[in-house]
C-alpha cells in the first residue's frame, strides 16, 4: 500500500513544484527578482533551480514507479 501513496506523493510534489514556479514567475514576487539592479543572470539561476528540482522529482517518480 505504500507504493500508491509514494506515487501519489510524487504527483503531489510535481503539482507543488508547478505552483511554486507559478508563484515565482507570475505573482508580485516577480518584481523582486526582476528589479533593475538584479544581476543579469538571475532569471537563468531561478530557471536552473526549477530544472534541478524537476530533475530530482523525476528521479523520485521513476523510483516510485519501479
Amino acid at each position: 500500500m505504500a507504493k500508491h501513496s509514494e506515487t501519489g506523493g510524487s504527483i503531489d510534489r510535481v503539482i507543488l513544484l508547478f505552483l511554486f514556479a507559478i508563484l515565482l514567475l507570475v505573482s508580485p514576487l516577480k518584481a523582486i527578482w526582476a528589479a533593475d539592479d538584479s544581476p543579469w543572470y538571475l532569471p537563468y539561476l531561478l530557471w536552473g533551480a526549477l530544472i534541478f528540482l524537476a530533475a530530482r522529482l523525476q528521479r523520485r517518480f521513476l523510483n516510485d514507479e519501479v
Binding site: 500500500m1 507504493k3 500508491h4 501513496s5 506515487t7 501519489g8 510524487s10 504527483i11 510535481v14 503539482i15 513544484l17 508547478f18 514556479a21 507559478i22 514567475l25 507570475v26 516577480k30 518584481a31 526582476a34 528589479a35 533593475d36 538584479s38 543579469w40 532569471p43 537563468y44 530557471w47 536552473g48 526549477l50 530544472i51 534541478f52 524537476a54 530533475a55 523525476q58 517518480f61 521513476l62 516510485d64 514507479e65
Partner: protein, 992 residues
C-alpha cells in the same frame, strides 16, 4: 566581411547533404539503435521547438521586450514540469489509440469528423505564417552575409530540398505506428548544430567582443540602461500572457506534438525530457543577452533579429559566420520538416480521406501506396503554400510577431485539451463552437492586421481599438479575448447539448476512468469473414495485412475462434486503422463492415482480463480509496492465486475466468492456455473431467479417479455457484461457477499402502490356520502316496491319484485366495465395477475359516447370487475378511455367525451378526478410530475397522456397528447397488 551567395548556397547544400547522410545512416541501422532511442536524442529532437525565431529572433525580441523573450521557454518549462499529469496521459492516449496528430486526438475525443477538419484548417492557417517566417529567416540571413537581396530562387531551392528530406525520411511509412528513427536522429542532430552554433556565437560575444566576463560586466556598468531594458518589460509587459502562450505551444504546436508524442520511441524518455528539454532551452538562451549587448556595442547596420550573424562578421573569421548561418539553416529546416509532416498527416486524415470516403477502389488498388503518395504530395503542397505565404508577406514584421501569431492560434486548443483530459461532459458541439469563436477572434485581432500591414487587405477594423485595448501590446488582449470567447462557447455548448454515447465512451478512454472492455460480439464469425468484409473498403491486400497485423499485436498465434477473441481483433484493427486513416474514418470502416451484435454480452473472462490489465496499467495513478481498494483486490487475488487447492472459475458462458497456480500445477495446463477458453476447449482429460462434474447433480465428488497418461490420479471435486448482486457500474457481473480441485493422488497412494500393510497383517494372522489347512491335505497326500507304493490294483491306484489331485487343488485354492488377498494392486486396479456379493462373501468366509478352523464356527450365509454392488472386489473382500475375523475373534467355539445380504432401494445392505462377547456401548463410538482396539496387546493393530470405514466410504457406502440385545454385535454395511444411477456415478469416477 562579405560572402558570395554561391558560397553560402554551397555551404547550405553541404549541410543539408550531411543531414541526409545522418538520417540515412540511422534508418539503415549504421548508427547504433540505442542512439536513436536514447533519452538525450529524444530531448534534442524536441529542440525542434527552437526555430529561426529562437535562433535569430530572440535577440530582436530581447531588444524589444527585454527578458520577456524568456517566457517563450519558461512556458515550455512549466508545461514539461507537468509531464506526469499532462504530457504522459496524452502520450498514453496517442499510443493506445494510434493517434498521430492533434486533429486525430480531438476527432477521437469528440467523435467528430468536423472537429478534425476544423482543427486541421485552423492549424494550417495558424502555422503557415510560421513556415513563411523560417523561409524569410534563411533568405534574410543570406542577405546579411552577402549584403544583397537573396533571389526568390534560393528560397525555392531551400523549400524543394526540405520537401525532399521530409518525403524521404518523414514519410517512409504510411502508419503513425512506425517510427522514423532517421528523422528523430536528424532532428536531434539539427538541434545539436544550432545549440553548438549559438553557444559559440555567445562565447565570441563575451570573449571576442568584450574580452571576457569582466569586460562585459564593465560594459553593463557603463550602460545600466541595457540591463534596465531587459528587466523593465518583465514588470510591465505581457509576461503572463506570453507564458501562457508558450505553455500551450510546448505540446500543441504541430511540430511539438509530432516529436513529443508521434515520434516518441521510448515512453520513459518523456520523463527525462521533463527536465532535459528545459535544460536544453536554458543553455540555448544563455547566449542571447551577451549577443544582444555585443550587437549594441558593435552597432552593426542591421535589425537586432540578425545580430547573431552580424557580430560574427566582426570576428574576422570566415568560419564563424558560415557556422552561424548553418545553425540558422538547421533551425529553419528542422521546423519546416517536422511541421510539414504533422500537417500532411492531418490533411490526409481529416481533409482528403473524408472527402473521398468510401473510396471507390479497384480490387488491384494498393491503398497503402495511395496513402503514402498522398501524404508525400501533401508535404510538397504545404511547403509550397508556406513559400507562397512568404512571397505575400511584407518584410516589416519582426520574426517574433509571426511566431506569436501561431502561438495564439494553437492556444485555442487549450480548452479542448482540458475537456479531453479532465471534463467528461465536454461535447463536440462545445468544442466546435469554442474553436470557431476563438479562431474568429484570432483572425480579427491578429491575422487581419497582419494582412493589412502586408498590403493584402485595406482598412481592416482593429477590434482591439474598439475594445479600448490598444496599448501597443496586441498579445494580451488577443489572447484574453480569443480564449475567453473560446472557453465560454466551449462550456456553454457542452452544457446545452448532451454528449453522445460514443463521446462518453471516448471521454472515459481519455480520462482513463472506468473504461470497460469492448462490448458486444462480432457478427462476423471467423477471420475469413473479417477479411472479406474489410476488403470491400480497403481492398484485399490491405485487409489481409491489417488482420495479420492485428493478430500479431494481440500476440495470437493460432486463428481465434471465439467471438470474444474476434471482438478483440476488431478492436485492434480499428486502432491500427486509426494510425493509418485517422480515428473517425477507422471507426466508420469497422462500424460499417465489422458490425457488432447489439445486446450481446461480453464474455466475463474478457471483461475480467481487460479490467485487470487496466488496473495494472493505472496502478501508479490510483490514489486514496481507489488505491486501498486496489490493494484489497490484489490481496484477495493473491490469496486465490496461492490457495493450495486448484481453483477454476467459470463465467456464465462457461468460459474459464480464473485458473490459479495450484490448478496449473495439478493440471499441467498453463494459465494462458486455459483462461478465456470455453471449458470444453481445454486439453483432455481436464475438459472431460470438469465438464462432467459441471453437469453432475452433486456439488461434491470424492476420490474421483482420472487416468492422466500412464498415471491414475485421484481428486476430490467441489463446485459452487457464484452469485450476488452486481453493482451495475461494471461489465463484471457475478455469475458462473467456481470449481475446486483437490489432488489426493499422494494421499490415496499412502492409504493404499496402509491397506496393503493391513492385509499383510491379516495374512500373518491367518498364517496359522493356513498352515493347518494346508497341512491337512498334505498329510492326506502323504498317506495316499504311502498307500500307492504298496497298491497294485489299478482301479484303487487311479482313485488314490484322483484324491491326491483333489487335495492339491484344495491347497492351490487356499494359496490362490491368500495371494489374491495380499496382492497390493495399483490405483488403476481399484476401478469400480459390478461385483457379485455372493462370490465376495464366500471368498471372505473361506479365508476367515482358514484362521479360525479350530473353533468350529458356523457361518450362515444368506446372499442371493444375483445381488451385486458397485465397487472393487479385492477391497470388498478386505472389508468382509476384517469384519468376519472380528466376529470370529469375539465368538466362542461352535457359535454361529450370520451373514445376510438384501436390497434396500438403490443400495445393498449386508449384515454380519455374531453372538459373541460384544463391545462395551461406551466404546462403540471409538471403534472406527485408528489404533483403537478391544483386543489383547499383540492381537490387534487397531487399523482394521478404520480401514473398513475408509473403503466403504470410498464406495459411497456406509458402515455401522451396534450391539444386539442377547449379546453380540451387528455390523451393517451399505453399498450402492448396480443400477442406472450407480452406473452413472461409476462412469464419472472412471474418467479417462
Amino acid at each position: 566581411m562579405k560572402f558570395e551567395l554561391w558560397q553560402l548556397f554551397l555551404a547550405g547544400v553541404a549541410y543539408l547533404g550531411l543531414l541526409f547522410v545522418v538520417a540515412y545512416a540511422a534508418d539503415r541501422g549504421w548508427l547504433p539503435a540505442r542512439l536513436a532511442r536514447h533519452p538525450a536524442t529524444y530531448v534534442l529532437s524536441l529542440g525542434v521547438y527552437a526555430t529561426s525565431w529562437t535562433y535569430y529572433g530572440s535577440v530582436g525580441f530581447a531588444q524589444e521586450q527585454g527578458y520577456n523573450f524568456l517566457t517563450i521557454y519558461l512556458g515550455v518549462t512549466l508545461a514539461f514540469l507537468l509531464t506526469p499529469v499532462l504530457l504522459q496521459p496524452i502520450l498514453r492516449l496517442t499510443r493506445d489509440y494510434q493517434l498521430a496528430s492533434l486533429a486525430d486526438v480531438f476527432a477521437f475525443r469528440y467523435q467528430s469528423q468536423l472537429a478534425g477538419v476544423l482543427v486541421t484548417l485552423f492549424m494550417l492557417a495558424g502555422v503557415l505564417p510560421y513556415i513563411a517566417l523560417q523561409i524569410r529567416a534563411v533568405t534574410e540571413s543570406l542577405q546579411v552575409l552577402t549584403h544583397e537581396s537573396a533571389p526568390h530562387l534560393i528560397a525555392l531551392a531551400f523549400c524543394i530540398t526540405i520537401t525532399l528530406f521530409a518525403i524521404l525520411f518523414g514519410a517512409r511509412h504510411i502508419s503513425a505506428r512506425e517510427k522514423h528513427e532517421g528523422l528523430v536522429v536528424a532532428i536531434a542532430f539539427e538541434s545539436l548544430v544550432k545549440l553548438t552554433a549559438l553557444i559559440i556565437v555567445g562565447l565570441f560575444a563575451v570573449y571576442g567582443v568584450f574580452g571576457g566576463l569582466g569586460g562585459m560586466e564593465e560594459w553593463l556598468q557603463r550602460h545600466p540602461e541595457a540591463l534596465e531594458n531587459l528587466y523593465r518589460p518583465v514588470r510591465e509587459g505581457p509576461w503572463a500572457t506570453l507564458l501562457l502562450l508558450s505553455f500551450a505551444a510546448a505540446f500543441l504546436l504541430p511540430r511539438q506534438f509530432h516529436m513529443t508524442f508521434t515520434e516518441n520511441l521510448e515512453g520513459q524518455s518523456l520523463s527525462v525530457a521533463s527536465w532535459g528539454f528545459p535544460l536544453f532551452l536554458l543553455v540555448l538562451n544563455l547566449a542571447i543577452p551577451p549577443i544582444l549587448w555585443a550587437g549594441m556595442h558593435l552597432s552593426p547596420e542591421m535589425a537586432a533579429d540578425f545580430y547573431v550573424l552580424g557580430i560574427t562578421l566582426e570576428s574576422g573569421s570566415t568560419l564563424l559566420p558560415v557556422l552561424t548561418f548553418i545553425g540558422g539553416v538547421s533551425a529553419a529546416s528542422a521546423m519546416m520538416i517536422v511541421t510539414t509532416l504533422a500537417l500532411a498527416a492531418m490533411c490526409m486524415n481529416h481533409l482528403v480521406l473524408p472527402a473521398s470516403f468510401p473510396p471507390q477502389l479497384k480490387p488491384e488498388t494498393d491503398l497503402y501506396r495511395w496513402l503514402l503518395w498522398g501524404r508525400r504530395l501533401l508535404i510538397a503542397i504545404i511547403i509550397l503554400a508556406g513559400y507562397g505565404f512568404f512571397l505575400l508577406l511584407e518584410r516589416n514584421q519582426g520574426l517574433a510577431r509571426l511566431g506569436l501569431i501561431s502561438f495564439v492560434a494553437v492556444a485555442q486548443f487549450l480548452p479542448g485539451i482540458v475537456g479531453l483530459l479532465y471534463w467528461r461532459r465536454a461535447t463536440h458541439t462545445g468544442f466546435i463552437l469554442g474553436l470557431l469563436g476563438g479562431a474568429g477572434v484570432w483572425t480579427v485581432t491578429l491575422l487581419l492586421p497582419l494582412f493589412e500591414e502586408s498590403g493584402l487587405i485595406r482598412n481592416a477594423i482593429d477590434p482591439l481599438q474598439v475594445l479600448g485595448s490598444d496599448t501597443g501590446d496586441p498579445w494580451s488582449p488577443a489572447t484574453f479575448w480569443s480564449l475567453t470567447v473560446n472557453a465560454l462557447l466551449f462550456v456553454t455548448g457542452s452544457l446545452l447539448w448532451r454528449p453522445r454515447d460514443s463521446e462518453l465512451e471516448a471521454a472515459q478512454a481519455c480520462c482513463r476512468e472506468g473504461v470497460g472492455p469492448p462490448r458486444g460480439t462480432l457478427v462476423a464469425g471467423s477471420l475469413e469473414q473479417i477479411r472479406e468484409q474489410l476488403a470491400l473498403i480497403t481492398g484485399q491486400e490491405m485487409a489481409e495485412h491489417e488482420v495479420e497485423r492485428a493478430l500479431k499485436d494481440l500476440g495470437v498465434a493460432s486463428e481465434p475462434t471465439s467471438r470474444t477473441e474476434l471482438r478483440r481483433v476488431r478492436e485492434r484493427i480499428e486502432r491500427n486503422l486509426s494510425g493509418l486513416v485517422g480515428p473517425v474514418l477507422a471507426r466508420m470502416i469497422v462500424d460499417q463492415r465489422l458490425q457488432i451484435e447489439s445486446g450481446a454480452r461480453t464474455a466475463l473472462s474478457a471483461s475480467v482480463r481487460y479490467m485487470e490489465q487496466r488496473l495494472e496499467d493505472s496502478r501508479t495513478r490510483l490514489k486514496g480509496l481507489a488505491a486501498e481498494l486496489d490493494d484489497l483486490r490484489r490481496y484477495h487475488r493473491q490469496v486465490l492465486h496461492d490457495l493450495p487447492l486448484g481453483v477454476c472459475s467459470l463465467g456464465p458462458d462457461r468460459e474459464v475466468v480464473s485458473w490459479n497456480v495450484a490448478m496449473q500445477a495439478i493440471s499441467g495446463v498453463p494459465y494462458r492456455h486455459a483462461v478465456g477458453l470455453p471449458l470444453k476447449a481445454l486439453a483432455e482429460p481436464w475438459s472431460g473431467l470438469l465438464c462432467g462434474f459441471l453437469h453432475a447433480q452433486d456439488n461434491h465428488l470424492h476420490k474421483i479417479k482420472m487416468r492422466d497418461g500412464r498415471e491414475t490420479r485421484v481428486f476430490n471435486l467441489h463446485k459452487a455457484a457464484i452469485e450476488g448482486p452486481g453493482t451495475g457500474y461494471s461489465e463484471i457481473q457475478p455469475g458462473g461457477t467456481v470449481i475446486l480441485v483437490e489432488d489426493l493422488t499422494d494421499l490415496y497412494r499412502l492409504e493404499s499402502e496402509l491397506a496393503h500393510s493391513e492385509r499383510l497383517a491379516s495374512v500373518g494372522r491367518l498364517a496359522a490356520g493356513v498352515a493347518h489347512e494346508v497341512g491337512n491335505p498334505v498329510t492326506g497326500i502323504a498317506c495316499l502316496a504311502q498307500n500307492l507304493l504298496s497298491e497294485r490294483d489299478e482301479e484303487l491306484t487311479e482313485e488314490g491319484l484322483e484324491q491326491i489331485l483333489m487335495q492339491t487343488r484344495r491347497i492351490s485354492a487356499i494359496v490362490q485366495s491368500l495371494v489374491s488377498f495380499s496382492h497390493s494392486g495399483t490405483l488403476a486396479d481399484h476401478t469400480p465395477v459390478s461385483v457379485s456379493l455372493a462370490q465376495t462373501i464366500d471368498e471372505s468366509v473361506r479365508l476367515v475359516r482358514l484362521s479360525h478352523s479350530g473353533k468350529q464356527l458356523q457361518f450362515d450365509v444368506d446372499c442371493s447370487p444375483s445381488l451385486s454392488a458397485i465397487g472393487d472386489h479385492q477391497r470388498l473382500v478386505q472389508v468382509f475378511v476384517n469384519l468376519l475375523s472380528n466376529a470370529c475373534d469375539a465368538s466362542a467355539p461352535g457359535e454361529r455367525i450370520q451373514v445376510s445380504a438384501f436390497e434396500q432401494a438403490d443400495y445393498v445392505m449386508i449384515e454380519i451378526v455374531d453372538h459373541g462377547s460384544g463391545i462395551d456401548p461406551d466404546e462403540l463410538d471409538q471403534v472406527f478410530e485408528p489404533f483403537f482396539t478391544t483386543k489383547e496387546p499383540g492381537e490387534g493393530t487397531g487399523l482394521g475397522l478404520p480401514m473398513v470405514y475408509n473403503i466403504v466410504q470410498e464406495h459411497s457406502g456406509s458402515v455401522t456397528i451396534d450391539s444386539i440385545p442377547d449379546g453380540g454385535i451387528r455390523v451393517q454395511v451399505q453399498l450402492p447397488a448396480t443400477g442406472e444411477r450407480s452406473l452413472n456415478s461409476a462412469q464419472m469416477q472412471e474418467t479417462v
